[in-house]
Symmetry: C2
Subunit: 143 residues, 2 copies
């Protein structure tokens, strides 16, 4: 997150509109992580576009609110997911953007031992009709 | 690719600028796949933004032309990669977009047996100064 904050901070200091847009998208990414890591299923799903897609390792891609809710619930049951954005970009038109960063999945193996898998994510976001950022496509892999 | 072509076809039939933009980005994705699957290293690297990033399973994220060239060369040595886009989106401003789809990596295991791993990819693209689409962030995982 350090480098993203530096970038956003520099842009905001220059008073650039793009810096504000990126700041807003970064805040959405952080807000999604907050409800996701707290395993708040309704709020986590509400961050996703109704036609949004998730692609996780070792599973088929899922699309749409109902399938996303099942996939996120399954992820919550599997362990604890956290992430930290380190890149953000927003189109000049302001309605499409992306974030990327690192993710940790902490879970217990069959013997009850706690393990952490590190990964990297890439998320494409679009603004909905009222100007809130929604997840259009979320993808990650394990490093 | 079927659904993407339907979407693009419908948009182009309506004479919408967005349909043309998405058609152009889809063509860039297909053109990149052509040189990538042919293992043409200079042309495959030339599709990437100079600050572009690649995130592949079981490896750290790499950023920048030199690191991307090494990663792509390593991928070429590992096996044969092909992909087919099935989603495309472009911002209203036309300089940022994404493609996603399915990917196959075909390789020989230690015993010499040919195996294929299926995966899913998400790529964020930006237009360069002369209007060519370049890969800003490419990520995939195995299904």
């Amino acid at each position: 997150m350090g480098s993203a904050l530096v970038v956003v901070g520099a842009s905001v200091a220059l008073g650039q509109a793009r810096g504000k847009a990126e700041d807003g998208l970064l805040a959405a990414d952080v807000a999604w992580e907050k409800v996701y890591s707290a395993k708040d299923l309704p709020k986590a799903v509400a961050f996703c576009d109704e036609h949004g897609t998730m692609s996780v390792p070792d599973a088929p891609v899922v699309t749409g609110t109902e399938a996303l809710a099942k996939a996120i619930a399954s992820d919550f049951a599997q362990g604890d997911t956290t992430w930290r954005p380190n890149k953000v970009g927003v189109a000049f038109s302001g309605e499409l953007g992306y974030t990327s960063g690192t993710t940790d999945l902490t879970f217990k193996d069959k013997s009850g031992k706690t393990l952490t898998k590190k990964g990297n994510y890439l998320t494409v976001w679009k603004k909905d009709a009222v100007g809130s950022w929604k997840v259009l496509f979320d993808s990650f892999n394990y490093e």
